[in-house]
Symmetry: C2
Subunit: 754 residues, 2 copies
Amino acid sequence: MLNQLLQKLPENTNILEATFGLEREGLRVTPEGKIAKSDHPSVLGSRTIHPYIQTDFSEEQLELITPISDSTRQARRRLGAIFDVTQRSLEPNEAIWPLSMPPYLKAEDIEIAKLDNPEEVAYRQQLVATYGKLIQSISGIHYNFELGKNLFQTLFLESQLDNSVDFRNQVYMKLARQFLNYQWFVTYLFGATPLAEKNFYLNMPQGLARALRASKTYGYANDDKVQISFSSLDNYISDIEENIVQGHLSLEKEFYSAVRLRGSKHSRDYLEKGISYVEFRNFDINPFDPLGISQETLDSFHLFILSLLWLDDLENADADIEVAKTLNEKVALAHPLDPLPAQAQPQIILDAMRDLVQHFHLDAYYQGLVEQMELAVKAPETTICGRLFGKIADASLAAFGLTKALEYHQESTQAPYSLKGYESMELSTQMLMFDAIQKGVNLEILDENDQFLKLWHQDHVELVKNGNMTSRDNYVVPLAMANKTVTKKILDQAGFPTPQGQEFANMDAAIRYYPLIADKAIVVKPKSTNFGLGISIFQKPASQADYAKALDIAFAEDSDVLVEEFITGTEYRFFTLNGKCEAVLLRLAANVVGDGKHSIKDLVDLKNQDPLRGSGHRSPLEKIQLGDIEQLMLAQQGYDVDSVLEEGVKVELRGNSNISTGGDSVDLTEDMDQSYKDLAAQMADVMGAWVCGVDLIIPDINQKADINQPNVHCIELNFNPSMYMHTYCHQGPGQAITPKILQELFPELPIYGK
Amino acid sequence: MLNQLLQKLPENTNILEATFGLEREGLRVTPEGKIAKSDHPSVLGSRTIHPYIQTDFSEEQLELITPISDSTRQARRRLGAIFDVTQRSLEPNEAIWPLSMPPYLKAEDIEIAKLDNPEEVAYRQQLVATYGKLIQSISGIHYNFELGKNLFQTLFLESQLDNSVDFRNQVYMKLARQFLNYQWFVTYLFGATPLAEKNFYLNMPQGLARALRASKTYGYANDDKVQISFSSLDNYISDIEENIVQGHLSLEKEFYSAVRLRGSKHSRDYLEKGISYVEFRNFDINPFDPLGISQETLDSFHLFILSLLWLDDLENADADIEVAKTLNEKVALAHPLDPLPAQAQPQIILDAMRDLVQHFHLDAYYQGLVEQMELAVKAPETTICGRLFGKIADASLAAFGLTKALEYHQESTQAPYSLKGYESMELSTQMLMFDAIQKGVNLEILDENDQFLKLWHQDHVELVKNGNMTSRDNYVVPLAMANKTVTKKILDQAGFPTPQGQEFANMDAAIRYYPLIADKAIVVKPKSTNFGLGISIFQKPASQADYAKALDIAFAEDSDVLVEEFITGTEYRFFTLNGKCEAVLLRLAANVVGDGKHSIKDLVDLKNQDPLRGSGHRSPLEKIQLGDIEQLMLAQQGYDVDSVLEEGVKVELRGNSNISTGGDSVDLTEDMDQSYKDLAAQMADVMGAWVCGVDLIIPDINQKADINQPNVHCIELNFNPSMYMHTYCHQGPGQAITPKILQELFPELPIYGK
C-alpha cells in the first residue's frame, strides 16, 4: 500500500512536476447553430498524419490534441493555439460548438469521419451499431497526466521498493482507484451537461441534470456486463481479457472508463513496461471558457490528482468504487443548483489538498484554488453547471451555445496575423507556427525569446529561427550578406549594378577621399549595422564639414564605414525564396491624406484605428506618432496637428519610410515588372541565398530592368528579411510567405501532393 | 598622337589607379648552393591547375605568379605570401636562389620541367634546340600593368576619340614605344646581373657588367632577323605575322621583347578586342630584397610608366627605338659603377615624373622616390648593381647568393603558423590561406578585418569566414549552437548527457530556485556568451547570498541565465569535422615547473621564449604574464616571483586554463580513447554540425565513454572552434586542421586524387 508516500517527501520537492496532454472535441456548426455539413477543412492537411487536429467520430467533430506538455499552462497555451488555428481554418462562417451536448440534430445529420484508413471507418460503423449515432456527437475533454521524471524517481526511492515498473503500476493504479472513488467531486465541480436538445435521447431526462455526459444513464457507457476491477493491475488485466473473450468488448479501447490506463495497446504489456500515464475523460466542455477548460480547472484538477495520492489507498477497492459510482450517478443527475448529497464527504479531499499545499509551500494561487473549490461545495450556483443554469431558455442551450460559438470565433479571427498565446514572439515566427499547426507539422519551441523552433514530420527535423533562418541556407551566405563589402564584391563580380564606393577603416583615409566625391550625391553608412542607424544621405554634394560630420556619425556605429554614390530612385524590397521572387513591397513614409474635414491629428487617429496598426513590432504596421519629429516635419510644410487638409492632399509625417515609424506598406507584387523580380532572384542566387530580401533602387518601374544602362541598383541584401511585412499590408492584397517556407521545408507532406 | 593627355586631367584624378601582376622566377638550390635535383615539391599539388606556383623552363625553376592586384602593395604582399608558402613547401634544406643569374651549373644539371601537357614539354625541347639549355636558367621578374578602369575611362573621354578599343591600343602602343625608348633608364636603376658564374657562356663577358640579362649579347634574345616595329599596332601585327611566315618565330610568344602586349594569343585580335595590358620583362631579381623586388622599385617603376604617358610620343618611333636599344646595350654592359653615358638624358624622364607628382599632388613618398632615382643617376654606387658590386668575391656571387638564400629561407620558416604579410588576420585564417596558396586553390580576401575569404577552383566557389564558417554548415545549426538552451535540448532529446539545469529570464525566478540547488555543486552562467565571461562555479554548495551574487554577474552578460549542476572532471576540447573527431586538446592553466635553480620570474621568462608564445592571439600560445592575478595566485600558494622552485615542482599562475591567459595546450588526439572521440563526433552529428568544438567533461579517461552511467558530460558545443590551437601545441605533436577543411571543401582537386 502506497500510503503516506507524499507526506514523507521533503518540502522543497517539486511536487508539481508532471506532464500533461489535452484532447478537446468539438462540433463544427453553421452560423445558424446547425451541425455543419461541410467536409473537414482541406487547409488542415492530411488527417492521416496530423498530430494536432483530427476528426473524432464524425466528419464534423473536431478533435484538438496538444503535445505532451511540462505544465498545465503550456498545455492550455498549446490548446489555445491549436483552437485558434482551427477556428481560422474553418469554412467562412462556421464555428466550433462550445458545449459538450450537441445542438439540435438528427442521426442523419451525422456523417462518419471520412478517414483514409478503412479499419478506422469500420470501427466507427461498429460503434454506430452498438451505441447509435447520436450519442457519438457528445464531446468532451480528456486530461492526460504523468508524474514528472524526477518526482517519480524521488517517490520511488522513498518507497524503498525494488522494481520501478511495479512501483509505477502501483502508483497509477492507486490514482485510478482513488479517482473512481472521488469522481463525484469532479462531476460536481466541472459537470456542464444539464440538458440534451430535443429528441436527442429516445427517453429524454426528466428535468435538468448536472452532468448527463458523466452519468451512466445518459453518458457514453459500456454494457452492464462489462465489469472491470481496479483493485490491482493483475485483476484489471484478467477482467479486461475475460470481457474480450466473452465478446462484451471488441477491443480493449472499447472499455469506456472515466479513467484509462495509457501507454500500451494491451493492458498485459503494463506488467513489463509499466503504465506510462493515465487519461481522465470526465471533463465536460466549459462554455464559459473559449477553450472549454480554464487554467483554474486544469490546476484544481492537478491538485485533486495529487491529493488522491496524498490520501491513503482504499481498503476494499471494488466495493468502495461500486458505492462511489452510485454516488457519482446521483450527483450527475441532480439539479444544477442542488448541493452535494449528504453521503458525499468533500471535506476529506479538500483537507488533503490543503495539507498538500501547506506541506509543499505551494503559492497563494493554489491556496486560492482550494478555497474556490470549498466555496463551490457550499454554493452550487458557483459551479460551472450552476452558472449554466441561468443560460437555459426554453429547455435549451441552443441560443447561448450559438452566441458563445460566434463570440469565440470572433476572438480567434480579430488579429489574423498573430497566434493566440504566442503574441510576444516575432510576428513572422507566429505566422510560421500557425502554418505548422495548420498543416500538421510537429512543432516545439526550443527557445521562445530566441524565436527558435523545432519542426518535424516523421524523421525529418528542421530547426528554424526567426521564421526564415533554416537549414536551407548555408552558413557562410548570411555572414556574407551581413557584410556590405563582401556583398558588394560578390554582386559586382557577377556584373550586377551596385552603388560605387569605398570602404574606410579610419577617419583620416575617409577625409582624404573627399576630393573624389566633392561634387557627387553620396551616402555615408556604417558597414555592418542593419537598422538604418548612422546613415547620412547627401542628395546634393556635401561640404567637407558636413561630410566629416556624417563620417563621425557612421564611425560611431561601426569601425568600418562605406562612402557610396547616392542612387536616385525609389527603393523597393523584393523577397526571394529559393530562386523565385515571392513578393515586392514599397514602403512609404508615415502620412495622412486630407478629407477637407478632419484635422491632421484626427486623421492620424482614424488611420491608427486600423487593426493592423499596433506598437512594438507585434502587429504588421505601427501606429503613427505625433511626437517632436512628426510635428517638426509638419511645421516644415507649414502645418500643425490642428491643420485641416483639403480633400486628397497628402502630408508626410516622417522623412524616413520605415514601417516601424508608422510608414505604410504597399504590396506591389502583381504590379512590378517581371524583369525586376527576375533580377532580384538572380542576385539572391548569385549570393547563394535561399531566403533573401533584395533592396533595389529603381527610378522608373515602367522601364524594364537593364543592368547595362543600368536603370536599377542593388543597395542591400538582407539575410533576415521581414516576412509578415509582405503579408498584411496597408495597401495591396498581401503575400503569404511563411506557408511557402513551410512547403519548401517539408515538400513531402501529403498536403503538398508530393 | 596622344600627347598632353595626362596634363589635361583634373588634379584630383586618381592617377595611381591601376592593376598589377607580378611573376617571379627562381631556382631551387641545395644548402650548398647547388642546383636542386629533386622534383617540384609534391605538396604544391598539380602544376596543371596551380594559379600561383608553377615551374618555368626547368623542373627546379619555380615561377611565382600573383593574381591581378589593385595596387603595387597588394601585388607585392601577395607575392610575399606565395614566396613564403613556396619556401615552406620545399624539401628540407632547399632554398630559392636570390639572383637572376644561376649559381654554377652545367647544362646536364638542368632538367626540363616534368609537365603533364606534352605540348608544353615539346615547346621547351624546341627552346633548348634554338637557344641552348643554360640560358633558360636565368630568372627574372615580370611586371604586368593595366591602367585602372575609371582612369582609363577619364582618359578616353579627355581624348575625344570615338572608339575606346582604338584608344586603348593607342595608349598601350605608346607605352610600349616609350618604354623601349627609355629602357636604358630601367636597366641602369634596376639591373642586377653583373656577372655569370664560371663557364656559363661559351664566350664569357670580359669584366663586370650592369645587367647581362638585359643585354642583347648575353640576355635571352631573338635572332637578329626578328625585327618588329612598334610604330603602330598595324605595323606590329604585320611584322609579327611576317616573321612567323618566314619561320623566324615559331609562335607569337617566342618574340622576346622587354615589353609585351598582353590579352590575346594572337596580336591580330587586339584590333577588335584591344590590348588588355602590358608586361614588362626587364626586372632582374634584386638580391637585397627577399622577394626580389622592393616596394620602392614597384612604385618607382609605376611612376616611370606614368611619366612615359606624360611625355609626348616619339616622332620617329622605329628609328628612335633603334638608337635607344644601342644605348640600352651600352648601359647594360657598362661596369656597375659607371655613370650613364653622355647621350642618355635621364633628366627628361625625371622631370616628367616630378611634374606628374606635382600635378596630381602625389604624397611625399612619391616625391621621395623621384629624389632617390635622381640620386641614383648621380651616384651609380647606390643602384642595385652598384651595391651588388661590393658582394662579388673571386668573380663570383655564389657565396653572397647562398647567404641570402638561406637568410630568406630562415625568415620564411621562423613563424610556421603565420602567413607573411597577413599576420594581422586570425591565425586559423592565415593557416587556411597558406593551404589554399600551397595547394593551388584560388584565393581572394573579400574582407580582411572580417576574415572573409573567397576560394575557388574552376567554377567551384566557396566563401569561408574565420577559416571554419563555410557552405558545408547549414545556417540554423550554428545559431542553435550559439544558444545553450537549444543545444542542451537537442543533445538531451538524443540521449546525450548534459548537466541538468534550468534557464531563468529574471532574478526573481532564479532566486526562488535556490532550495533545489542549496546542497549541490553548481555553475551559474549567461546563456549566450561564449568567452567564459560571467560564469561562476561553485564546487561546494553556494550560500544564498553567493548564489545571488553569481546571478547578478551572469545577468550582467545576458538577459537569460542558466543554473546547472557542476560536473566533476577534466574538460577536453574535441574538434570534429564532417562526422569525424580530428583532434583532442587538453588546456592547462598557465604554469611553470621548477628546476631548483631559476626563480619563478626567470622560469616564466624562459617559458615565454618559446617562439609559439606571443601576444594578442596572433601566435598559438600567449606569453605568461606576471600581473596582479598571477602574483595573487602565487601568494595563495606561498610563493612570490622570486621564489626558486624545487626541481619538478609545478606551480600554477592562473585559476583558469584559457590559452589566452598563458595556458598550455596539450594535444591528446592520439592518446584519447576512441569511445570519447566517437561520442564527440556523434554529438556534432546529432546537432547537424559539420565543424564543431565539443567540450566534454571526463572524470577518468581510462574508462571507456558510457552515456548510461554517465561518465562523460557535454558542457558546450562551439560553432566557431579555434583550429590553430590544435595545430601548434605546447605539448604533443599537434594536428593540422585547416588542410582537412580545404580538402573537404575541394575534394575535386587533383592533389586529393579524386
